[in-house]
């Protein structure tokens, strides 16, 4: 036998190969096609899995060591935040509504990502890709769990968070993130990776985490900052998986390119639409603002995306089809989304409000092309209505886009005065879309999207009432029946921020604190 010392200094590369790729083998008692049944049907051709490179080469021992350290730090902050009643130190109770949206619409996606990467991890016959996907799976589970823990303290003191997984499966606007992720999960493993690792994580995730977490820091929420940045440190690995995976697929076979291009077109647009709620969060829900959505888009999408797609042009990949329309939307989508939540706040477990005067000034300064012209008069009107005791709510359910499931609130590219309508006939029905790109997604795979669970239609089909509720009764109140189905505490979780329990409680703590300080 050779001596120990001779084998000590193996290169990271060789060592990692022994630790991952060499563990798997070509099965023979069961055919490979049966052991890895999902590897072919999407049309992606892989000839040599050994070409897969994992740049970080983390083995489980190092993974446990570093992740354990991250967790120790994170939970120390979460504990300290609760012990010090950290919720009292935030800028304003309105801020918490950003967290509500986060826990309702983002946290469940982390969970879905965990399950999706477990599925992908099991079904790649290349052990390198499989291990990378598995690590991401368990990281995503981490994100779900740390978010639930970090927000647990807020949930004890504010409304609109307490039933978030139940809401995710039911509430109208949460079908936007849910359908996005279920679209990815119901695709094959290669599409899933392109959708989540590349299009979402690599191209768009910085827009979700970095400005939002900086926003949390500005607004005195150190607990959220810590979980956000801590999660984001895993994201750096995930993003790398995203780009490695795209390069790998493209290098394996020239015929993969058109498939990948179509997925990039589709998933860039799906992801961009999903980020509409982040845009709104940034511009309207942070009482102290760091940067506007438009600035964040320019910094993290336009600059970075241009570099990326220039790089990918070497493989014949073009920038996503919806790229220009997405860039055009940066002046509008946050305002349009806020208006939508303001319209339908009776059915949403969070609060909305009209920005105060200096916030209006900020918006006007950040959006010189659009705010004063289209959006300020609307908000001024809403304020004056509210002051006269007629807070405006839209009482009729909205028309939804069949793909992104967002109410049809987006305007024509280049004309913010007109809603963008697109439609198509398929079999015996009409289908409607918010944009050319959502329409195109439908037209390529209609068999999938005719199944969409559109919340508005489901309400009208009578599927969003509790058992035993009879819509044909004279005194039937559809809104309250739907809120019962949502398990939303009417009058507490929903409606305007003004007069909400959140506002009253926060002001009370603040008063008590000031009183104590005075003593």
């Amino acid at each position: 036998m050779n001596s120990v010392s001779k084998h000590k200094k193996l290169s990271l590369h060789t060592r990692y190969k022994a630790m991952t790729r060499d563990l798997s083998w070509e099965t023979s008692y069961q055919p490979m096609e049966k052991v890895y049944p999902y590897e072919r049907y999407e049309g992606i051709k892989i000839h040599d899995w050994d070409k897969w490179e994992d740049p970080f080469r983390l083995t489980m021992d190092a993974y446990w060591k570093y992740q354990g350290e991250k967790e120790k730090k994170l939970y120390a902050v979460i504990d300290a935040f609760a012990q010090n009643s950290g919720q009292m130190g935030i800028s304003d109770a309105r801020y918490v509504n950003a967290l509500k949206l986060f826990v309702q619409g983002v946290t469940p996606l982390e969970y879905s990502a965990h399950r999706g990467f477990a599925n992908a991890g099991r079904h790649f016959s290349g052990a390198g890709a499989s291990v990378a996907a598995q690590m991401q799976s368990v990281d995503e589970l981490r994100h779900y769990q740390t978010e639930v823990h970090a927000l647990s303290h807020f949930n004890k003191h504010f409304n609109g968070m307490h039933n978030f997984t139940h809401w995710y499966d039911r509430v109208w606007y949460l079908s936007v993130p849910k359908s996005f992720f279920e679209d990815a999960l119901s695709g094959g493993p290669f599409e899933f990776l392109t959708a989540v690792s590349f299009s979402f994580e690599y191209v768009l995730t910085n827009l979700l985490f970095v400005p939002f977490m900086s926003g949390a820091a500005y607004n005195g929420d150190m607990s959220t900052v810590t979980f956000g940045f801590s999660a984001q440190s895993d994201e750096a690995r995930h993003m790398t998986l995203g780009i490695e995976c795209i390069k790998f697929i493209l290098e394996q076979d020239a015929e993969n390119r058109p498939i990948v291009q179509r997925w990039i077109d589709k998933w860039f647009w799906r992801g961009y639409r999903l980020l509409t709620i982040v845009a709104m969060m940034q511009d309207y829900m942070l009482p102290k603002r760091v940067m506007s959505w438009k600035e964040a888009w320019e910094t993290y999408a336009e600059k970075n995306g241009t570099a990326l797609f220039k790089d990918l042009s070497l493989y014949g990949i073009k920038e996503p089809r919806g790229w220009r329309d997405a860039c055009e939307g940066k002046d509008h989508i946050s305002h349009q989304a806020w208006n939508t939540f303001y319209n339908y706040n009776a059915a949403a477990p969070l609060h909305t409000w009209v920005p105060v005067a200096e916030e209006m000034e900020w918006l006007s300064e950040k959006y010189p092309k659009s705010f004063d012209r289209y959006y300020r008069p609307r908000l001024d009107y809403c304020r004056s209505e509210q002051e006269q005791g007629r807070r405006f709510y839209n009482n009729t359910l909205p028309m939804l886009c069949q793909i992104c499931q967002i109410p049809m609130m987006f305007t024509e590219p280049g004309d913010a005065s007109k809603i963008c309508y697109r439609e198509v006939n398929y079999q015996d029905d009409k289908y409607h879309f918010c944009s050319d790109h959502c329409k195109q997604i439908f037209c390529y795979e209609p068999e999938k999207y005719v199944q969409a669970w559109l919340p508005v239609h489901q309400i009208y089909q009578g599927n969003c009432f509790l058992d035993g509720v009879d819509p044909s009764q004279n005194d039937f109140d559809p809104l309250s029946a739907v809120l019962d189905y949502y398990e939303l505490n009417a009058g507490i979780d929903n409606l305007d921020f003004e007069g909400s329990q959140d506002q009253l409680n926060f002001n009370k703590w603040d008063g008590e604190e000031a009183q104590e300080e005075a003593e």
């Binding site: 740049p55 570093y66 900052v225 984001q232 750096a236 993003m239 760091v290 570099a307 790089d311």
Partner: protein
């Protein structure tokens, strides 16, 4: 030419790493925002283990950067001694 970037949580542990990056990448530009240090550099950026070790005065395993890493952009190449971000192929 496109920029690459890397960002760390702004804390005591990241300081020597950031200092090392600045020493090794004269073209790098450092931007501080709440809780975050972002370093941009034209085309490529390197992080050397040895420079960090000089900054900290102790042994450093490059994989330790994962603890405080927030995000990055560009292709990654890593071995025991160096992590390189670039848009080169």
């Amino acid at each position: 030419m496109s920029n690459v970037f890397i960002a760390f949580q702004a804390n005591e542990e990241s300081r020597p790493i950031v200092d090392a990056v600045i020493r090794d990448n004269p073209n790098a530009e450092v931007v501080y925002s709440p809780g975050l240090v972002k370093i941009d550099a034209p085309n490529s950026l390197i992080i050397n283990r040895e420079t960090i070790e000089e900054e900290t005065g102790r042994d450093f395993d490059l994989q330790e950067i994962h603890i405080n890493l927030v995000t990055l952009s560009g292709h990654v190449e890593e071995d025991e001694d160096q992590l390189k971000l670039s848009w080169d192929h």
